[in-house]
Subunit: 154 residues, 3 copies
């Protein structure tokens, strides 16, 4: 199967895991010493490395899920990812580079639905015996303005 | 061609048929003794079988189209489906299982566009000499709140 | 690779070029004597050929980009294309016919995001030694109402 289709299937499984609220399985999409970051297009362009959310290990992703479960913030709404086709870049020892557009809709408890976030995933994807996993997933959001409590993983 | 791509093409044709207002061709995507249901994520999780829309034969789908044409409700707006990549599950004698996220935008006659519905299709797809057709399509909408006159097929 | 996947990859590259503001590269997706048009579903159905935007050569597309850069209109917001899977039609000497649904979200400088446009691309795609390029791209928008300054290419 082509790389584009394999990465597209990885993204589909990733989105389903989040949108069906199986957050505990979300860190499994990453390698142990991964980088996961949420940033804005403006900050990314300026080369700021900080990020609104920053995790450089899978353990930190697990901690984040635990925090979310404790806070129960995410229960007030649900989310739906619509993910475009990845553009596959260079493949090198650290993995397959991919850039993929996304849109996340938010469904409020009162039924209203809006566009919560749009942007691109900038990924480096490890391809080994355990299948495809993210070595890096930098989530570059188009908007500079975020819900400060930004609950769910993007 | 891989199952994922074949199912994705089926979904693309399905969406085009609805969004271009060729509703009379919509039942042809289903087998004769099909199940088509629209429900909410909450009700689906609780195991409620009722559904907001329920049809257990292609004849019922045809009746629904006739009713829509008579009521002319759908003419006041148009719709646009954006469908994600399917996750393919088990293949067994009843068909191929697939789960596919969707977003439907609604375009009002005054030009405003909003997110009308998001959710997942839970499908069982028959693969025979006539190509791929839906044995089951359960449309699980993320929102509990619906237009009670919910006009078009999703 | 199948035609559907090749065209989907072309669309992904096209969207990325626009959404990352590399507008100067946008005309390269077209052949020299191309047709590019933005119209509404209503006008398209009535057979009106005019279009809100009309260009019948790549030189006109380059002029359009220059005008946009001069006007600086587009800087006030950014855009994100989410493109569905193409339906591939007949292949003949003029190219591959394809029909593809799209949704474009608009991100305002104050952070709000809305659905800017939805519709379908009606394409004729030339497949030669230089790869896939658009001989025709007719952008049929679902809404009749447009920003009269409609800044970016769709």
């Amino acid at each position: 199967m082509s790389a584009v289709l394999r990465v597209a299937e990885l993204n589909a499984a990733y989105a389903q895991t989040i949108d069906s609220d199986r957050l505990e399985s979300w860190p499994d999409f990453f390698i142990e010493d991964c980088l996961y970051k949420i940033t804005s297009a403006d900050n990314h362009k300026r080369g700021y490395s900080a990020g609104i959310v920053y995790a450089d290990s899978r353990a930190m992703l697990r901690d984040r899920v635990t925090a979310l479960r404790t806070a129960n913030i995410y229960e007030r709404q649900s989310y739906r990812h619509i993910i475009g086709l990845p553009l596959i870049g260079a493949t090198n020892p650290s993995g397959i580079a991919a850039e993929t557009p996304f849109l996340v809709a938010r469904i409020m408890r009162d039924g209203r639905t809006d566009v919560f976030a749009t942007g691109v995933y900038l990924d480096v994807i490890r391809d080994d015996a355990r299948g495809l996993r993210f070595a890096e997933r930098v989530v570059v959001c188009d908007s500079r303005h975020f819900d400060t409590l930004l609950a769910i993983p993007l």
